[in-house]
């Protein structure tokens, strides 16, 4: 890596512009300019702030400014961002220097919201700089005139690369870049990224060869800001044993908001956002302007909050990951993270939202909601200090995305399979793609890819005499364009107040759990569920003082990262690290050591104990909620077969607890790796999670249409038919391309099978089984999670703490155990 190796000289007009503003160009901005002059691709890794965006654009501006006025004009630079709103913002930021420098450069955006007439004009006379999204680029590439549009393209700038690479939108964009490179061989790639665990992965993603050792990519590392100041809130109150709302600490959070200029309060779920927002307003005696922002709120409402924030008229915003990325705000001087941060990289991303001046530290307050979260917050702070970031295991590009891309390419021009295969494997996510898988994807697009070859006459792609594949009918082109994209939204319903205002959207499954009269908090108000009318949820304002039924959204709940889990395990084992912990937590850990044993950093602690006539098994695996959920499904299947009579289980980020009629004796046998064989297969047949995964894959691959010409299918219909297809396909062609894609997705995401498999392999032969006569101190939190869905309302944590008293007494031996020993 060269930090500003060859310093490029700034053209006088640009140098004067910096000077006029009293600025000096950052070294990484000059390094990016130098890379451009050398004609090399460039990856800029820098924290938020520090003119990263300008660094990406400057080489293009310098080149365009240097062109003679009579030079032919055309598309010069393409800027791709994951966020529609960001593209709009950058247009503003870019326009200012253009005006100051009096440069005659056309800058336009193109997203799904761009009017049809403008889009058509853009194809004929494109601007010099076009700001767009991965989806809009894919659409452009599917037009027959794509070669003309992009022939003169010189540079493509990919923003927020760390957020795109590794996901399906990144797959789609990587495939698009491969096609762009074929259309414009001189194209230079530029990537802008936050600090990441594994820069080599991004180098591979950005390189025209798809390889991490591609010498064509220059990596530029921007100077890091001052080390952030991270404080963990210690409460004088009793630290909760369980729960995620941290209501005990909000008075202190409110005091901090009052003492700061502008505060961003991040939470992990939308339900948390609603509750924390309500509670802050209850405490808000001074009526400080505090707003709410999360992904379910109506877009207009979110935009209003963002605009108010940009104007500086807010003192605090309570937000979910909906504000993790996005427009930079000056003036945020405190970031509060309520609940554990779940990952070091995520915490860094969030605290980077505070204070965009590089010479002053970001200030961040972590607010653990329970005892385990204290450990996790400590681990995350240590991780930030050591700058050890979370690394996700690399994943291969999705076969569903590939199928969509193949159809798109066929829409643009007849395609040669061999040439397209070569082009596709130059995109990093598909560098390892086997020709067989490519051919299967092509067959899927052509005929559905079924072993039963009955659809020859309905084929979507036909081969011409030269062996090239072309689209059989213009209606397939139309359908492709209507259904393009890889973001499959969960079916949602609009929340409407009576016949009037739309408040936002909620997932269908949440509404399914409501009966008329139920109350819930949404958009900062207490609402009463009245009815579902078509795709609208009709609500009314509930009378004040009622107990809300809190929405239990699964969405937005990220599992604990592997890296953070390792740190928590190491901390538990090493009592030398305990003195920094709050007294209550230290005492809790010492008690655990006396009554049972602490979970080892290597291996797996499994405790079993009787309680209330049931037999409990608690495994301290620290693999995150999703992997634990899957483990719970598989464990209970095995226990059923072993005649143990399993009754239920509960999974947290840290542990899994199963209860049964009979005690588990052969614990090592229960955790054998072979549970990933038949048990997994059997579960996959029934799991609603797998069906949901299949549905997404089927939509992306184009088997199920989101939109058909002339009709809009509701999300509900899509879900239903996808389930039927899954059942039939699984039985009759289990190796079908879409089922292979579904299994690949199941390795991560909501089922996290990959992480579970790694854990089982790691602990074989290292399972530490502790039969106890009663619940252990460390098991108390998970036992409190049991049945919490039935308890509703803001007094939830209080209720749980009352229930905890009994359990704790039992665990600590201060009172006779509940029927045990």
């Amino acid at each position: 890596m060269a930090e500003a190796a060859a310093q490029a000289s700034l053209p006088p007009a640009f140098a004067a512009w910096f000077e006029a503003h009293g600025w000096a160009p950052h070294p990484h901005q000059l390094a990016m300019l130098a890379a451009a002059e050398a004609g090399r691709a460039a990856l800029l890794i820098a924290p938020t702030g520090g003119g990263k965006t300008l660094a990406g654009f400057m080489p293009s501006l310098v080149e365009l400014a240097g062109q003679p006025a009579e030079a032919p004009r055309g598309l010069h630079t393409l800027y791709v961002s994951p966020l529609k709103a960001l593209a709009v913002d950058i247009e503003r930021n870019l326009m200012a220097p253009l005006r100051d420098l009096e440069l005659d450069i056309a800058v336009e955006t193109r997203t799904g919201d761009t009017p049809q007439a403008k889009r058509q004009r853009q194809r004929k006379t494109p601007p010099e700089i076009l700001l767009t999204t991965p989806e809009s680029l894919a659409l452009l590439l599917s037009y027959h005139d794509a070669p003309e549009i992009f022939a003169g393209l010189r540079s493509v700038v990919v923003d927020e690369l760390h957020a795109l690479a590794g996901g399906k939108r990144g797959d789609l964009l990587a495939l698009g870049l491969s096609r762009l490179q074929a259309l414009a061989p001189g194209l230079r790639r530029v990537g802008l990224s936050a600090t990441v665990h594994d820069p080599a992965r991004l180098v591979a993603w950005l390189s025209p060869s798809g390889r991490a050792d591609d010498a064509a990519v220059e990596t530029v590392v921007g100077r890091g800001g001052v080390r952030p100041e991270i404080e963990i809130l210690t409460t004088e109150q009793r630290l909760p044993w369980s729960g995620h709302m941290a209501l005990h600490a909000l008075e202190e959070v409110y005091r901090r908001i009052r003492a700061s200029g502008v505060t961003l309060v991040f939470v992990n779920t939308r339900a948390q956002a609603e509750l924390v927002f309500q509670e802050l307003w209850r405490l808000n005696e001074e009526a400080l302007p505090i707003a709410l922002h999360h992904g379910s709120l109506a877009v207009e409402q979110r935009r209003r909050v963002e605009a108010a924030m940009a104007r500086g008229s807010l003192r605090a915003v309570v937000a979910t990951s909906s504000l993790d990325l996005g427009i930079d705000w000056a003036g945020v001087d405190l970031v509060v993270q309520v609940g554990a941060p779940k990952g070091v990289s995520r915490l860094l991303q969030r605290l980077g939202r505070a204070n965009h001046r590089l010479d002053a530290p970001s200030r961040c307050l972590l607010v653990p909601a329970n005892r385990f979260e204290v450990l996790e917050c400590r681990a995350a702070r240590d991780g930030v200090e050591a700058m050890t970031l979370d690394g996700e295991p690399p994943r291969a590009g999705g076969l569903d995305v590939l199928a969509q891309h193949i159809l798109g390419m066929a829409c643009s021009a007849p395609l040669d399979a061999g040439a397209l295969y070569a082009e596709v494997t130059r995109a990093a996510p598909y560098a390892g793609l086997a020709r067989r898988d490519f051919d299967d994807a092509l067959q899927f697009v052509a005929t559905g890819g079924y072993a039963l070859r009955t659809y020859e006459r309905f084929r979507r792609l036909v081969q011409d005499r030269a062996g090239r594949w072309r689209v059989a009918s213009p209606q397939h082109v139309k359908r492709y364009r209507m259904n393009l994209g890889v973001i499959v939204e969960a079916p949602t319903l609009k929340v409407r107040l009576g016949r009037g205002r739309r408040l936002g959207e909620v997932e269908e499954y949440f509404v399914q759990g409501l009966v008329p009269g139920d109350t819930f908090v949404f958009a900062g108000q207490l609402l009463r569920f009245e009815a579902v009318r078509e795709t609208d949820v009709i609500v009314s304002k509930a009378a004040a003082g009622q107990e809300p039924k809190v929405p239990a959204y699964v969405g937005g709940r990220l599992p604990l990262s592997t890296h953070l889990a390792d740190r928590v395990r190491a901390m538990l084992e090493d009592d030398g690290s305990w003195p920094g912990l709050p007294d209550q937590v230290g005492e809790w850990l010492r008690l655990q050591r006396r009554r049972s044993v602490l979970p080892p950093a290597e291996g797996l602690l499994v405790e079993t104990f009787p309680r209330g006539g049931k037999q409990f098994l608690v495994a301290y695996s620290f693999e995150g909620r999703n992997a634990h959920q899957t483990l719970g499904m598989l464990l209970t299947r095995r226990m059923e077969r072993a005649g143990l009579g399993p009754l239920g289980f509960v999974a947290t980020d840290y542990v899994i607890a199963v209860w049964s009629l009979q005690p588990a004796r052969d614990v090592a046998g229960l955790f054998d790796q072979d549970m990933l064989g038949d048990d997994l297969e059997e579960w996959m047949a029934e799991s609603t999670l797998l069906k949901r995964t299949f549905r997404n894959v089927a939509v992306i691959a184009g088997l199920i249409e989101r939109r058909a010409p002339g009709q809009q299918k509701s999300g509900r219909q899509v879900t239903f038919s996808a389930d039927l297809i899954y059942d039939v396909l699984r039985k009759h062609q289990p190796d079908h391309l879409l089922l292979r894609a579904t299994r690949a997705d199941a390795a991560g995401g909501l089922t996290d099978i990959g992480r579970l498999a790694a854990m089982l392999a790691r602990v074989q032969g290292k399972i530490l089984h502790r039969p106890l006569d009663r619940v252990s101190p460390l098991a108390v939190p998970v036992l409190l999670e049991i049945g919490r869905e039935q308890v509703a309302g803001s007094a939830l944590d209080d209720l749980l703490d009352a229930a905890a008293a009994e359990l704790i007494a039992e665990a600590t031996g201060e009172a006779p155990g509940g029927g045990a020993s």
């Binding site: 039963l452 309905f458 297809i725 999670e785």
Partner: protein
């Protein structure tokens, strides 16, 4: 908290064999969606929608071509279990008029095999007003027998004793731990509507107006579980959002 089995209705055990009476005739609903009439040794199924997959494929959406095979396999299994003298399909057996022509040779053979061992009656439906006769069996607009009328779509003012299909009823039951939706039989003792038997046949909520209108005095449902059929009164149902 999760219940142990990720499958419909895991925790309630059926109290013996469920029987439904229509106009005093004892009928047995089966978990596969068929209806067994022991008094007449007749097996009744509704809405097979054979070749629905290929109908979509013809319009450009290449759904798996296995729905006919899947449906016929389940039908053959139901026949093998009960060994009926007569099999009645209550219409919409074929997804469209051209569906029979699209049948794969294996599917044709499977239908002929089944038809050879029993009396097969194809009742005409709106999707298949003229089901093919060359595969075996007889085509009828409706069948009247022993106090019951078997037809495709329930008649608004039918006299007591009607079995029909057409609506693909589906219901959602609110159990304490979770809600479950599944295909179901719906009836009031005077008439009974069968669930769709076809692998790709969707469903209509029994609480939706067209179905409610057929049961002005209320109804109960027999929900298809994995191993058994479960009876629930109207009052236990919640809308399928």
């Amino acid at each position: 908290m999760q219940s142990v089995l990720d499958s419909p209705l895991p925790l309630t055990k059926p109290a013996g064999r469920l029987e439904l009476a229509v106009n005093g005739r004892a009928l047995v609903p089966e978990p596969c969606g068929a209806l067994w009439w022991p008094g007449r040794e007749t097996l009744v199924v509704a809405d097979l929608h054979l070749e629905k997959g290929s109908a979509y494929a013809a319009r450009g959406q290449l759904l798996p071509p296995y729905d006919t095979a899947a449906t016929l396999e389940r039908l053959a299994a139901a026949v093998a279990r009960r060994r009926p003298r007569r099999l009645v399909c209550l219409g919409d057996s074929f997804h469209d008029r051209a569906a029979a022509a699209r049948l794969a040779p294996e599917a044709r053979a499977a239908i002929r095999r089944l038809a050879a061992g029993l009396e097969w009656i194809w009742i005409a439906g709106n999707h298949d007003p003229e089901p093919p006769e060359e595969l075996g069996g007889r085509v009828l607009p409706a069948l009247e027998q022993d106090g019951l009328v078997l037809r495709h779509e329930a008649a608004r003012d039918a006299v007591a004793g009607e079995l029909s299909g057409h609506f693909h009823p589906k219901a959602r039951v609110d159990l304490k731990a979770r809600a479950i939706s599944a295909r179901c039989f719906v009836g009031d003792g005077r008439r009974l509507i069968l669930p769709a038997f076809g692998a790709f046949a969707g469903g209509l909520d029994v609480l939706s107006p067209p179905l409610r209108a057929l049961f002005p005095a209320g109804f109960e449902v027999a929900l298809l579980g994995r191993r058994a059929v479960y009876r629930f009164p109207h009052s236990r149902l919640v809308p399928i959002a």
